[in-house]
């Protein structure tokens, strides 16, 4: 009996350890397969073409700059909404709201995180964009701005939950110390609590932005899908097209192994590298480790 127990324990332990490494394996696999399908694009398309401002695959024009600027402008718009509202809501939940309000708000924000993006895109088409067209007197309601509004909503839960974690991790003694010195709760929030949690709040902002850059369905449905270079502020109110939307919209129609196919994978590599950069930067912030240490001590 002892023997079989040991053997079982050995097998289970091995299986658990192997599973532990799976995340690394998957990241590598994703990287390898994107490279495998995307790098040929560099041989098939001249750099000048790839970096041009015309995306018109039918005529072999693969300029990805409009797609990149499209992604950037939509993301900036989304960040302008998600960052203040996300941090404001996080501060409200963690510092101001009475307990019962918190108990209602937190699940609701979490619920927003769980809403399928296709549902938001759907409402964007049917409700938000007609409204914006009339309200802002635009030729079409399907614009970068529409995308930014919805994307802001999608990024908010990420910002709220990470920022709230960071605020929660600030030791209560900091706040009590500030109150004891005669600071109001409002002053304490701005001069003590938020500065103490700044690295975590920064992480929240970065992860929120990462979420916005990567969002696909909503932007594909509401931003009008026009691959034009978006460099001016005014572009916010005209149709654009993001990198994610381009992949989603066109991959279904290309022949496997064609140049177009390889270029779409190449855009995937760009997106992968952006998210890698954002997340490595975000995860190098240390507040999580601190929180864990406190939990062990308590």
């Amino acid at each position: 009996m002892e023997k079989s127990l040991n053997w079982r324990e050995f097998v289970i332990t091995r299986a658990i350890k192997a599973s532990g490494y799976s995340a690394i394996v998957f990241v590598l696999l994703i990287f390898v397969f994107l490279m495998r399908e995307g790098l040929p694009a560099l041989g098939e398309v001249e750099a000048g073409n790839l970096l041009s401002i015309r995306w018109y695959p039918i005529e072999e024009m693969f300029g990805i700059l409009p797609l990149i600027t499209g992604s950037i402008i939509v993301t900036i718009g989304a960040a302008l909404i998600a960052v203040p509202f996300g941090i404001g809501t996080a501060v409200f939940i963690s510092e101001i709201a009475p307990r019962w309000v918190r108990e209602i708000l937190k699940p609701l924000v979490e619920l927003l995180g769980g809403l399928p993006s296709v549902v938001l895109g759907f409402l964007g088409i049917l409700v938000l964009s007609p409204f914006l067209r009339v309200f802002l007197d635009l030729p079409t309601g399907l614009t970068a701005f529409t995308g930014s509004l919805l994307l802001g909503g999608i990024a908010v839960p990420t910002v709220v939950s990470v920022a709230e974690d960071a605020l929660d991790a600030v030791p209560r003694a900091y706040r009590e110390g500030a109150w004891a010195l005669g600071a109001t709760r409002w002053q304490t929030i701005w001069r003590v609590t938020l500065p103490a949690a700044r690295s975590g709040v920064l992480t929240a902002v970065m992860l929120g932005i990462g979420r916005a850059i990567g969002e696909t369905m909503t932007v594909m449905m509401v931003t009008g899908n026009a691959p034009v270079l978006a460099l001016k502020l005014g572009s916010l109110f005209s149709p654009v097209r993001t990198m994610t939307a381009t992949i989603a919209a066109e991959m279904g129609e290309v022949a496997n192994g064609s140049t177009h196919y390889h270029v779409l994978f190449f855009i995937g590599i760009v997106l992968f590298l952006i998210s890698l950069g954002v997340n490595i930067a975000a995860s190098s912030v240390v507040f999580r480790a601190k929180k864990r240490a406190e939990r062990i001590l308590s």
Binding site: A15, I30, L34, R36, P116, L126, E215, F265, R295
Partner: protein, 288 residues
């Protein structure tokens, strides 16, 4: 001494500030409630037994959405089959076995990165690896595997959190009573962390159920006149179906669109509510 006017100003600032933040939080939450209510109101008239149990007819402009409902169910179950055991095992490794080594830190960075990769890039990866390289074709299997890998980081990090919240003392006591490490995990740690793990699993699967981009080129079918017969068949799915009927099909009756959105919402929100319920009940019942 503080002058009264000064103090009054400070408190006025505080009151204005608090009011401002309250409004902000309200504005953040209001659209969520509005979206849900709006879809329920608009979609409810479309819901009928025929809509839920029938096949699409007349170029999807009539009939029901059964194949999409069943397809999403299949995809969710398929995702669970792969991601739940793997995710929980990985969480156990990180929480119970891994020391703080460079390798462990690499694993953590990998998990954070998996969580941040855009869903459409998962779609590309699934196309490259499962559909083409492994020749699974556009299928439930390929789509489920793609969704599994996307869901994995959510399950791992919530499950690890749940495992870590089990007091260390339980482990020490169990070991001191002659338990092996695995016996301790199975009989004490997993048992106590179970509600938290289940909550994380449901939240992860909820995301998978609502995703469209990863299944676009790995398993989603535009239209299928029958139910998928094997894991190697493509399938309709609620989120993709909603995308299709709201953007690709001209003259689509608006009721069917809202009805489909409502069914998808109910599918996803039910999982959300169950997860929230399990978590709050477990917190109330917890003995430590």
């Amino acid at each position: 001494m503080m002058k009264p006017t000064f103090s009054l100003n400070r408190h006025l600032v505080q009151r204005l500030g608090f009011a401002g933040l309250t409004v902000m939080a309200f504005l953040t939450v209001l659209p969520i409630v509005a979206v849900v209510v709006y879809i329920v109101v608009q979609g409810a008239p479309a819901i009928s037994w025929e809509f839920l149990s029938g096949f699409p007819r007349g170029g999807m402009r009539e009939g029901g959405i059964l194949p999409a409902i069943i397809g999403t169910l299949y995809l969710t179950i398929g995702t669970a089959i792969f991601s739940v055991p793997l995710g929980i095992a990985a969480a156990i490794y990180l929480s119970e076995y891994a020391a703080d080594t460079p390798l462990t830190r690499t694993i953590r960075i990998a998990i954070i990165n998996l969580a941040g990769i855009p869903s459409v890039v998962y779609g590309l990866f699934g196309l490259g690896l499962f559909v083409l390289f492994l020749r699974f074709g556009t299928s439930i299997l390929a789509a489920s595997l793609t969704l599994s890998i996307m869901t994995l980081p959510v399950i791992i990090s919530t499950a690890e959190e749940a495992l870590r919240s089990v007091p260390q003392a339980f482990r020490t006591v169990s070991i001191s009573l002659g338990a092996t490490r695995w016996q301790t995990i199975r009989r004490i740690v997993l048992k106590e962390a179970l509600p938290g793990i289940i909550t994380g699993v449901i939240l992860g699967l909820e995301r998978a159920a609502g995703e469209t981009a990863p299944i676009l080129f790995t398993g989603a079918a535009f239209f299928l006149p029958r139910l998928p017969g094997s894991p190697f068949d493509a399938t309709m799915a609620l989120p993709y179906h909603l995308f299709v009927i709201s953007t690709q099909v001209p003259e689509m009756p608006i009721q069917i669109q809202y009805g489909t959105a409502l069914v998808l919402l109910v599918f996803v929100l039910t999982m959300n509510v169950i997860a929230t319920f399990i978590r709050s009940r477990a917190r109330a019942k917890r003995q430590w």
